[in-house]
């Protein structure tokens, strides 16, 4: 009986938590850092209020953002594109509406002294590789290059093992750990995972399909505010960094500055439309995840995302009913 009661309680709790929508909650998946610079800059500029939106940040490291959005506990959340594809495959109706990183900032970091120049050589060399278990890109790399003589261990969000072991390789966000390692006196060599051909949009803003269908105009205004924030942050990250600094004491002002600098080429788009996405890249990602066996079946790419352009016409139909025809 107890199980059933718990199940009922859990289900009830999830439904009871559906908030009324005066305020838009945005769940972050990490501490305030330049990855979210545009969000804080939009707040600083009053870009949300200007559009009649009231936005409240929530979440943080370890927050189950995709689940929170699925349960409509929050309106928006930050996830990565592969999480969107996985969640939709598991029956969740989350949709991406803004992609911060056009190039995935995930990478593998080892020591310069090893003299390794390519990802393939890195993964073939004996040593230790610390990665979060189950990461799709790790599976991709293993399938593509093989893990030869590597010992794979869990990553524990500390660079101490890396600093202590000269044959150590670990996962990184190129905007975070390499900077910390360099400042700790190491000489890190970083390989972008994107160079292997696996390049999901990252720090993607997601929302629930229902919200997108019922409230497209508001979602569009939210995304426009984000764009305004990001354009301003890319021009000058200092003011927003100063706002984020006190919220993330682990990073000092210099770390913020360096991270904002490192991420700029990953965010900027040639034709200026920060955050927009293409069907080709979603289709490619879905195919890759299907080939890895992580997803049963790739969905039509337009199910995974909605660009602000397509939302701007208020109430633009989208998704399930297939009415978003071109």
């Amino acid at each position: 009986m107890r199980r059933a009661w718990l199940a009922a309680l859990a289900a009830f709790a999830l439904f009871a938590c559906e908030r009324d929508d005066a305020t838009l909650e945005l769940a972050l998946n990490w501490k305030p850092e330049p990855e979210f610079g545009g969000i804080f800059e939009a707040e600083r500029l009053g870009a949300f209020e200007k559009r009649g939106l009231s936005v409240e940040r929530t979440g943080g490291p370890g927050a189950p953002v995709v689940q929170m959005v699925t349960a409509k506990q929050v309106t928006f959340g930050i996830a990565s594109a592969d999480e969107v594809v996985l969640a939709r495959d598991r029956g969740s109706d989350v949709v991406a509406v803004f992609a911060t990183y056009q190039t995935c900032p995930q990478g593998l970091m080892t020591h310069v002294a090893r003299g390794i120049d390519t990802l393939a050589a890195l993964l073939a060399a004996p040593g230790t590789l610390a990665v979060e278990p189950g990461l799709p890109y790790v599976k991709f790399l293993e399938q593509r290059y093989g893990f030869g003589a590597l010992r794979v261990v869990p990553y524990t969000y500390s660079i101490t093992p890396f600093l202590r072991d000269p044959s150590f390789t670990q996962q990184v966000f190129v905007t975070a750990e390499p900077i910390a390692a360099r400042r700790a006196g190491a000489e890190p060599k970083v390989f972008l995972v994107a160079d292997s051909g696996y390049d999901p949009y990252t720090a993607v803003v997601i929302t629930h399909g229902d919200t997108l269908r019922s409230d497209a105009a508001r979602v569009a205004r939210f995304v426009e505010a984000l764009r305004e924030g990001w354009a301003s942050y890319l021009a000058d990250p200092a003011p927003a960094n100063a706002r984020m600094g006190p919220l993330n004491p682990e990073m000092d002002a210099e770390a913020f500055r360096l991270a904002a600098e490192a991420q700029r080429p990953l965010i900027e788009v040639a034709n200026g439309a920060v955050g927009s996405m293409t069907e080709e890249r979603w289709a490619e990602l879905a195919e890759q995840l299907t080939a890895l066996g992580l997803v049963k079946e790739a969905q039509p790419p337009e199910r995974y995302f909605a660009n602000p352009e397509s939302l701007r016409a208020a109430g633009a139909p989208h998704g399930r009913d297939g009415s978003r025809r071109r």
Binding site: M1, L6, A7, A10, G134, P154, R164
Partner: protein, 255 residues
């Protein structure tokens, strides 16, 4: 199957069947996303279709748990005997044993990896650290509750301290020691899985990977296997205490 065995197995089995059936129905009716709460049938499918990986991981975790328990029971009993030696020793050291009761294993597990390296050693250490306190506390309580008349009798006959320990205090403490071990067994499973989160291997990694890949069904299936491990250990300690105590102690005498 005889009547007695049936009477033993039927109630928990019935609870399980009715409980999972109810959960299945409620989850279906409320149409909860599998991402938030998987249906028992989906968990069962994951538990059977991924049985190969899950069983291999269970074996790894189980081995670490057993080693961890071996360590914690040895260290725990030794520590309890030392603490029981004199009230002064007890006052000086017992408060620090409490450290092991409240230690936030999640916080120190990464340190265990730095001390012992990645792999089973850190996992065994994590299992031992979280399971040592109940052994110390229960054994100590047993050692200290020896009937004073019997202690007087031993003294009267000029028994040495060692003889008193072996022939009176430890046997007297045995029922409580075994109770401590029963508590320790469940904790050791938790400790090992948390240890695996950072040290690698076993069910801990299956859980982490499944969470990362949003396989909630597999997460629950792995937890199910871990519960089986806990149940098996609980049963094993229960059997041990029955065998050890049935001829002389009220708690396991024929009922």
């Amino acid at each position: 199957m005889n009547r007695a065995a049936l009477a033993r197995i039927a109630p928990p089995l019935l609870t399980f069947v009715v409980g999972t059936a109810l959960a299945e129905v409620v989850i279906r009716i409320l149409d909860v996303s599998p991402l938030l709460l998987p249906r028992p049938s989906a968990v069962w499918t994951a538990a059977t279709s991924e049985a190969g990986v899950l069983l291999a991981s269970l074996a790894a975790t189980g081995g670490a748990v057993l080693l961890g328990l071996l360590l914690s029971s040895t260290i725990g009993v030794a520590a309890a005997v030392a603490l029981a030696a004199s009230p002064w020793v007890q006052r000086a050291f017992y408060p620090y044993a409490i450290f092991f009761q409240i230690v936030p294993i999640v916080a120190i597990a990464p340190l265990l990896v730095i001390w012992f390296g990645y792999g089973p050693r850190a996992v065994v250490a994590a299992a031992a650290v979280v399971s040592v306190f109940p052994v110390i506390a229960n054994t100590l309580a047993g050692l200290l509750s020896v009937d004073p008349n019997l202690a007087d009798l031993f003294r009267l006959h000029g028994a040495t301290r060692v003889a008193t320990l072996w022939k009176l205090r430890l046997p007297w403490a045995l029922p409580q020691l075994l109770t401590g071990l029963r508590i320790a067994a469940g904790l050791a499973v938790i400790g090992a899985i948390v240890g695996e989160f950072v040290g690698g291997g076993g069910l801990g990694i299956v859980v982490l990977a499944a969470m990362r890949q949003q396989r909630t069904d597999l997460v629950f299936a792995a937890i199910g296997y871990a519960s089986l491990l806990g149940l098996a250990l609980f049963g094993a300690v229960g059997l041990a205490s029955r065998l050890a105590l049935r001829h002389w102690h009220a708690s396991e005498a024929k009922r």
